[in-house]
Point group: C2
Chain length 698, copies 2
């Protein structure tokens, strides 16, 4: 369950895999075109521990004594790296377990990805052996791992004679080996300092999420780039995300936008609106995981996050030599939710003293392309004055070339200041990048990366919620659920009672079983009432004439009761008499279950236009009232709360609390498949659900 916080993760279990003191390469060979050569040669170059080649047909490999099998090694090793053909792998693992070796990384292919019965069967055996012996297995069908902090390169993702990455605080974890190594290659090319890379392939045992948990806990790691086609292990993923936020680290995820792991939509009425990647987006939002739209963006984010600098707010300073580029950047920044505050008169005066008369000191600070005398001194003064003020939280500085006075001033200021400083160099960015600054060629991409720093900087460890089951409440809830017998859903009256139990305000109503009861109930409410037929067979009441609005006075009530209680085609289990509720605004809320992340609460604009009003906001339970209020603040393009026609902030907080209750309902009652509340009516002084449908797992 997502809310569950496992005290221990896979870190200790994976220590022999990722930080081994001894390694044996099964399938090591002298043939320079074989993968078994590449991995062994890669390890040989740098690995500080004990390294053994295993080769059944050769006495030596690259000059070292080779052992015929894993069982013949002189000591139990921490890790076996396995590169022999698939058909031999199960035997190798069996022998390894017997010999007391501690883990295996299987790089060989030909298992379940091969689509053959034999491949599936061998992989199942691996899973069974791993589980039975508590023996960690990574792979098969992957390309290994690289742990620069432990000088261990057990992969063929890089050639043995290739330059090694500059080891730094960025880790890459990818289920797909091929795609992961392309991320690695491009990251290194773009001067991202990668200290760790792991691919998990078919995941017979260890998953990408396990590797993520392992690596995010390493003290050397600040940023983890994470690629997986879908999340299998929600608890592990959330545990890693919680650890990251608590330790001010960042997980950046690139993922396909439509995950095959989720088939159902989130709001039953709006099947086409919400797909599962929206749930994943909501999880990332709530748990402070950055979502990158492309590999380029993933690398951009790693590049600016690897120095660990943070922004105190969302205020960006822009320094440019081109007015056009300045406007382009300012526009992109404001689209990305950053602020470009006009600098205070004092700061502007100080900067203007160093600028030509026709330049602008406001922000963007535009020096213009016209060079001025004594440029180095002036540029340094300008850059330092902007960065030194408490009016901006980060600086993007654009220059044409990478080795002139403006660029050098930026490079120097980067070394002296602690705010994020992002150079944009249009002609030769590599000249600045090689000085260690997070350098961009494209101004718009630089802005996108700053926005990522801002998002990370405003995360709160408290965003991460724990949930405790209220057993007494759950017991009362189950008394209500039982009334449905074997029916798939609750009656409206019972649905609303359940909602009320979890703190969701509902319209006042009475279930009546004769006309006299209805008359009396209507009299109690006073004024016009709504009357509805209750029936387990009726999912969409208004489509079957089962709702009569605006009933007033005894004769009308009796007539309505007569009609509703004899509705053709449906056994009627009572007639509901409910107060008429008016509202200037209609919302819809609900719960659905994501197969990965569990109960998801949705809230959006509602009523008849629900299908046209865009995507509802999603909240993955558990979440707190602050998260719910923030979601409501973003509804209706940010105009739902506080606008002339929307909700007051008091109503927003009341609804936020009700949504937290829905989350509790979803967590406490796993047998509830979905809840659909539509509409929730909001008027000046009230907010109340007038219909509700709870569906159970049958």
């Amino acid at each position: 369950m997502p809310g569950e916080n496992t005290a221990t993760g896979p870190e200790e279990r994976l220590r022999p895999v990722f930080a081994p003191r001894s390694i044996a390469v099964v399938g090591a060979t002298d043939n320079p075109r074989a993968l078994g050569y590449m991995v062994y040669a890669n390890l040989l170059r740098d690995f500080p521990g004990r390294l053994y080649p295993v080769n059944s047909r050769k006495p030596t490999v690259l000059g070292a004594t080779a052992y015929p099998s894993a069982g013949d090694l002189p000591e139990p090793v921490d890790l076996l790296v396995v590169l022999v053909p698939a058909a031999q792998v199960a035997d190798v693992i069996a022998e390894a377990i017997k010999a007391g070796h501690r883990s295996a990384y299987i790089l060989a292919a030909g298992f379940s990805e091969a689509g053959t019965e034999e491949g599936h069967s061998i992989q199942r055996r691996l899973t069974e052996m791993s589980a039975a012996a508590g023996f960690p297995i990574v792979g098969p069908n992957c390309n290994g791992y690289f742990n620069g902090y432990a000088r261990t390169m057990a992969t063929f993702a890089l050639m043995p004679d290739a330059d090694r990455p500059t080891v730094g605080p960025v880790a890459i974890v990818s289920q797909s080996g091929g795609f992961g190594s392309s991320i690695l290659t491009r990251a290194v090319k773009n001067r991202v300092n990668v200290g760790f890379f792991a691919s998990t392939g078919n995941e017979a045992d260890v998953t990408a999420t396990d590797a993520l948990q392992y690596v995010v806990a390493r003290p050397e790691v600040r940023v983890v780039a994470y690629f997986a086609e879908g999340i299998k292990d929600a608890a592990g993923f959330l545990r890693a995300a919680r650890h990251a936020v608590a330790h001010d680290k960042v997980i950046v995820s690139v993922a396909p936008h439509t995950s095959p792991t989720v088939a159902r939509a989130v709001m039953s009425h709006t099947a086409t609106i919400v797909g599962s990647s929206d749930v994943y987006d909501a999880v990332c939002d709530q748990y402070g995981v950055l979502r990158a739209a492309s590999v380029d963006e993933l690398i951009d984010f790693c590049l600016v996050l690897q120095d660990g600098r943070r922004m105190a707010g969302r205020r960006l300073g822009i320094l440019t030599q081109s007015g056009g580029a300045g406007v382009l950047m300012a526009s992109a920044a404001s689209e990305a939710g950053l602020e470009i505050p006009e600098l205070s008169p004092g700061v502007q005066r100080d900067i203007a003293a160093h600028l030509p008369a026709f330049a602008s000191a406001k922000n963007p600070v535009d020096t213009t392309a016209g060079m001025f005398p004594d440029a180095p001194r002036h540029m340094a003064a300008i850059v330092n004055r902007i960065l030194g003020s408490d009016e901006i939280d980060a600086l993007v500085a654009m220059t044409w070339i990478g080795n002139d006075a403006p660029a050098n001033a930026v490079i120097e200021a980067y070394g002296e200041q602690h705010k994020p400083v992002i150079p944009v160099v249009t002609v030769d960015p590599q000249l600045v990048a090689e000085r260690g600054l997070p350098t961009f060629a494209d101004p718009t991409r630089a802005i996108g990366a700053v926005a990522a720093i801002a998002r990370v900087s405003t995360r709160c460890p408290e965003d991460v919620q724990e949930f405790v089951v209220d057993a007494a409440r759950a017991a009362r809830a189950r008394d209500i659920l039982r009334r449905a017998g074997t029916n798939p859903g609750l009656l409206e009256s019972d649905s609303k009672e359940l909602l009320a139990l979890y703190g969701f305000p509902v319209a006042a109503d009475t279930v009546c079983h004769c006309a006299d009861e209805a008359v009396s109930a209507a009299r109690q409410i006073a004024g016009r009432v709504v009357m509805k037929a209750l029936s387990y067979g009726l999912a969409h009441k208004s489509d079957h004439g089962a709702v009569i609005l605006g009933v007033e006075g005894e004769p009308e009530v009796r007539k309505a009761y007569e009609r509703l209680s004899t509705l053709p085609g449906f056994p009627v289990d009572g007639v509901l008499v409910q107060e008429m509720v008016s509202g200037s605004l209609e919302l819809a809320a609900g719960i659905q279950r994501d197969p990965v992340f569990g109960p998801v609460v949705s809230v959006g604009l509602g009523g008849v236009l629900v299908e046209m009003l865009g995507r509802p906001r999603l909240l993955v339970a558990p979440f707190d009232i602050r998260a719910a209020a923030a979601a409501l603040d973003e509804l209706g393009h940010g105009r739902l709360v506080g606008g002339t026609r929307g909700m007051t902030t008091t109503q927003r907080d009341e609804l936020a609390a009700a949504l937290v209750g829905l989350g509790a309902l979803g967590l406490e009652l796993p047998e509830v498949v979905s809840v659909d509340i539509n509409p929730v009516k909001v008027s000046a002084n009230r907010m109340v659900a007038v219909d509700g449908l709870v569906v159970l797992d049958r």
Copy 2:
């Protein structure tokens, strides 16, 4: 006026500038660090016409006889390239005009961009001289131009000893010289074949839009990358756009998202929703101009468009060696509106014959990373089978490296086929790029570029509209406008009459000046009516109790008349009795004037939730019923038309026709500042405006 179609553009006038037979460089010098050297040396290297250095202090420049002034040249030249200090420029131009030279490109800086009175004053003189003599001037404060088709490099954007771009079908036009040259540099680095580059700087005379019109008409040009901070000359821009669509060329525009040239919002009720860049977006949409979000994207688009290939539809084939990357690309493609059709069983069978058993032939076609025997032959067969089928319109093919069998099969197929083929090569893309294919390293960016091809391929020359004023209708309209006297807006009754004249359906109503008239009007309508006070002082009637809904029967009508005709605080000019219109859907429509592009018609979801329902769709007049219908199809996330609760297609077409009428109103009556129609009520069998406000220019 945007609708106006000037028969002749600036092409002929700019011929001496951009395709000169003779050039003099005023300020040419031997000093290799001077701009006057760089430009002269750049021209000297390649220019096939007659080239003269002008230098007042030296007898020769780089070995050629120098002339002391523009007046001393041996012939009237087509173009003077001017690089002397600002203070001397006006004299140079005066002398040039006197000597019969034909045009000037002023690269010198120090004019209005300097912010000094002197700078402004010199630039004004240039503008005046140009206008008086019909003498074309480009600049000042720019970095010149490059016309590879005419071997003319009159710019310092590239060094004289630098490699020249491979001349090809891409042109770059930028108002900003600095930003333009950074686009040029990065385009060339990314193997975009640039044949033309021009910067227009301060635009004392010739604008970027003029240069755009010139270059889009060149037969060698297929794609124009266009950067301007704002469009000054709507007619010229639209003329260029029309030419591009008619000749199957493409203009790609990168522009800041919030243009400073536009201050007003498009819908008066929703001031914060629509900014001017939305108008520019709408123009680009309607006129087939591609809008790029960044310089990277601009270059991506140029890269895939330079070979001129088009898609017959939106169906994309994806070939990958990585399942993960395949899903990522498929997801990005479907977000971008492309289709990834599953290949037919026959094609799948043919492909599967060449694949390992565990690979997928569906689409994405995933060969998996596992190499198979005889890979070259199989890969070629697969690529050709996909491209040769009539089931896909373009292919994105991902490989890890650039010189293996899969990559070579893609390179070969590119040469043999005519559909767009986009290789994605994650490790060494340059190996494929240098073979002339539009090659990407990032899979998501490749998909974005294919989406651009698809957009361009589906443009219609008929999208481009001409508008003819209907003088008789305009005269009748002005009779209605005159009723307002000196008031800023029309009464609701007159507003609706005007709308009806232009074909917009309005609710039936009668203006009454006594209670008897009101009773009689209500009787004619039958059933309940709405009564409203008419007053020039009342902009928001319902806020002042000036609207009474559901009035029925003579006593109620008389009471309502009494109340409305004596509304405190406002002189009442009559009472409107109107039919009650019910509708399941409320829309809002209107006209506002964009200072650049003129009348813009907006349409969106309406009623009380208008502020929350996102951006309305915009249509820049003139537009046809097809464009209006397409805009309505996109409203409400594509669910307004055809859904269970929205409009029928008949109603959509009826509303589209009404919007075309609004466009005509805006074009025919420039004195109408804005029209606000809210709501338009839509029910099962009707679509009608129940309120309208026409505001006039006072």
